[in-house]
């Protein structure tokens, strides 16, 4: 066994992930695997079918019973492939009889029904142990989680069944309609040994189903086995260590650790670090080294010894399906709702209208009266609510899309014209002094320039708001106010406001004070601009928005 030749990535995988590698393995070698499988099983199937033509059930049983043998060449191929050794299909087929001899009797008797068959096969076939060693080995491998293996077996048995019925259903779907209608297909399918050829066809269908699944079953079991050993023996670590050793060797690297390292007083040995040494495994150490590599065909010598007698054959395997139970199963499936649904619901029809209503009506008689009343009440409310929803939706649609009909664009701007009393500043005219320019002037003398300008500016704005219909919104900036307002009043007030705004902006945002004479001028001119004259020309009010 040369780990370095591994063709798959070995790492300890968790739980179900281990099985994935098996599927990937089959995908990679699908053609070879299926070739091997069919080269071995098809002749057998044909021979048995001819020999036991009148006893189809027995042909079936024979094939089913010998399944462990069919899987061995597949495993043989896979195990070699994993370590980089490619076997030809021919070689694998040739090795069939040799492989079949290993532990042949237990394999087709009590182990046949083992739920961990797929996981056990690699141990039996590849490790070639005997007697007690083998059973110990099985225990060790099972210890980490034969749960996956059990589920694997159940799953694949189920999968075989699925394919069995799937092939039948597919055949049914592909048959011409007249034929399938005239023929009671499921009776035909379920026909047991009365019609030997029909039974044999069914056997063949079963064979096809098994054929699809078998390589996967084998490979997944093998993958589980590999994963268990990776966990137990740290294959991945061995691999890396070997590579590291090789690298250090080649490069003539200095030792990995300082030679003169401080003597460590740690009295601990690795033993202390290890909580539970796996003793069971220890004894088999040596053989393992031989195991896969040498393909242990010689181990067949101890095959038949030491067969534990205590195991019993249970009837738990679904593999045991005979035709009678198949019939039952078919009936059940036929009756199940899901099945009916897929076949019957292929059309839009309302024949349920009458039937179902009636039947449901009957069944409803068992309900207590108050419950019924309550339900009626609720359903009335819910229906009412649904109608209300419909009405609301319709009204909404009409209002929303009336512009489609009337050709008008939706008037969404209505809501935006809002009263002007809101302002960033205190803007009510009551709070303003009667003669703002005088107050401003005195503020300038008190060197409160900013306040003075602010007062003048506010006073102007309020004048405009009191005397014009212009809407000034909260978000308007000084320039926007100016743009809106300068056409009101006369030429002079427009000019004045524009000068005021410029100076105010510079003061507010650039902290630049205008010349003091400019300031006084602005104060002096305020009454000229607003108080004195100017009957506001109402005709000019065309501007606002």
């Amino acid at each position: 066994m040369d780990l370095e030749k591994m063709t798959a990535k070995v790492r300890p995988r968790k739980g179900w992930e281990a099985i994935d590698l098996g599927v990937a393995l089959v995908q990679q070698h699908a053609i070879s695997l299926y070739k091997i499988w069919f080269l071995i099983t098809l002749p057998f199937f044909v021979v048995v079918a001819i020999l036991l033509f009148d006893y189809a059930v027995w042909a079936y049983v024979a094939f089913w019973l010998l399944k462990p043998f069919w899987e061995r060449p597949l495993l043989h191929f896979l195990s070699r492939e994993l370590f980089g050794e490619r076997l030809s299909v021919k070689e694998c087929v040739k090795s069939f009889f040799q492989l079949a001899k290993i532990q042949w009797f237990p394999s087709i008797t009590w182990r046949r029904l083992s739920f961990t068959r797929s996981l056990d096969l690699p141990i039996i076939q590849l490790e070639g142990l005997s007697g007690g060693q083998r059973s110990q080995r099985l225990k060790v491998i099972h210890s980490i989680g034969s749960g996956s293996a059990v589920w694997l077996t159940i799953f694949f048995v189920f999968l075989e069944l699925v394919f069995y019925f799937a092939i039948l259903a597919l055949a049914f779907l592909l048959l011409p309609t007249q034929f399938s209608e005239s023929l009671d297909f499921w009776n035909w399918v379920a026909a047991d040994s009365e019609e030997p050829w029909a039974a044999m066809v069914l056997n063949f269908v079963y064979y096809c189903g098994v054929s699809i699944v078998a390589p996967f079953f084998t490979a997944c079991g093998f993958a589980l086995y590999i994963n268990q050993r990776t966990h137990l023996e740290a294959w991945d670590i061995e691999l890396s260590f070997k590579r590291l050793a090789k690298r250090l060797n080649e490069q003539g690297e200095p030792p990995l650790v300082r030679l003169a390292s401080i003597v460590c007083a740690v009295g601990l040995s690795v033993m202390l670090l290890m909580n539970q040494p796996v003793n069971a495994y220890e004894s088999t150490e040596q053989q393992n080294e031989l195991s896969s590599e040498q393909q242990v065909v010689q181990a067949e010598i101890d095959q038949d010894k030491s067969v534990p007698e205590d195991e019993t054959v249970d009837s738990y395997s679904i593999d045991n399906l005979d035709h009678a139970s198949a019939n039952r199963l078919i009936d059940e499936i036929m009756d199940s709702e899901d099945f009916n649904e897929t076949l019957e619901d292929f059309r839009f029809e309302r024949r349920f209208d009458s039937d179902e209503e009636k039947s449901l009506e009957n069944s409803s008689s068992q309900f207590s009266t108050w419950g019924l009343l309550f339900a009626k009440f609720i359903s009335f409310i819910v229906e009412f609510a649904l109608w209300v929803v419909v009405a609301v939706v319709i009204i909404f649609l009409i209002t929303r899309y009336r512009h489609l009909v009337t050709g008008l664009s939706p008037n969404l701007k209505n809501k935006k014209s809002r009263p002007k009393q809101l302002f960033g500043l205190d803007m009510s005219s009551e709070e303003l002094p009667d003669q703002p320019w005088q107050v401003a002037k005195s503020m300038i003398q008190a060197k409160q320039y900013r306040e003075a300008m602010s007062l003048l500016y506010r006073a102007s704005l309020i004048w405009y708001m009191d005397n014009t219909d212009v809407v000034i919104r909260e978000g308007d900036t000084e320039l926007e106010c100016l743009k809106k307002l300068k056409t009101f009043g006369n030429q002079f007030s427009g000019d004045y406001f524009s000068r005021l705004t410029q100076n105010w902006r510079r003061l507010a945002y650039a902290h630049q004070l205008p010349d003091s004479n400019v300031l006084t001028e602005l104060c002096d001119q305020w009454p000229d601009a607003y108080v004195k004259p100017m009957g506001l020309n109402q005709d000019e009010e065309q501007t606002n928005e």
Binding site: E341, D345, F346, R347, F348, E349, R350, R351, F352, D353, S354, D355, E356, E357, L360, A375, K376, S379, F380, V382, E383, L386, W387, V390, L404
Partner: protein, 326 residues
Amino acid sequence: MRQEEFEQRYQPEWKAFQDSIEIAEKFSRRRGDNQKVLDGFAEHYRQVCYCLALARERQYSPYLIQKLETLVFRGHQIFYQKRLGIFKRIYQFIVFGLPNAVREQATFVWIATALFYLPGLIVFAIVLVFPELVYAVVDPDMVSNIESMYDPTADRLGRERQSDTDFMMFGHYIRNNIGIAFQSFAGGIIGTLGTQFFLIYNGVFFGAIDAHIINIGYQETFYGFVAGHSSYELTGIVLSGAAGLQLGWAVIAPGQFSRKQALINAGKRGMVLMYGAIFLLLIAAFVEAFWSSISSVPPTTKYWVGGAGWLIVILYFTLLGRGRRV
């Protein structure tokens, strides 16, 4: 930098990132949480990616790398999540997504329409002329079943149905019809064959039944019942058929894409139509259960409502959403 220093230096950021991931991964989260997650998420995410790249480059221990890898993966899952709310998308979809999609994929919609209506019309005409041929198409049991359903003399339709019965039928129609639409869509994956089968089969079925109803003179009850929801239901079928055809066509003629990619693209486009089909069939189920079943409404009104339904459907698909972004 030693790994320890590295860890110590970035640990708080990783922790913060992990915290915001955990908020985001929570099943139910409030609006405020979203903003909280989003703030600085991009920076944190990049930071962790950067740390991972560094850790790999410097060959820090596998534990650290795996930890960061997991963080990056989880962060990636959240970072590239589409945050558009579902209600917004439904709303957008109805108002302009669907009509635009239908117009974009007009070819398939028209083919589906033809597959559905043409055989139906032909069979309709044939059965009108040769009434007995209805049994060649429809199972005799079903014919008699339908006859009894729409028999004007039967009292079943004469009596007012109760709300709770309506409700039961509502549930039934939803489950039945939409389930069938799903199957019709999925059937397209075998080279449009499944979809073609559904469309033609249903078309023929409807055609035969219609003609038969006329032959035996039950028009009033039948059309009175059917008129209201026909527009939504039939259009729903056609849309699901168009989606299925598109899916199958991608398998047959993938064009310049790989077959797989073509299938993915067709699936995405087809889904838009499928949403539409579901939407229409929901309306149909509502109308059928709660409106069509009211027998006190005179047939003329029902015809008008039915006609209006067709008008709405046609206008909806021709007018709405033009010039909008999809």
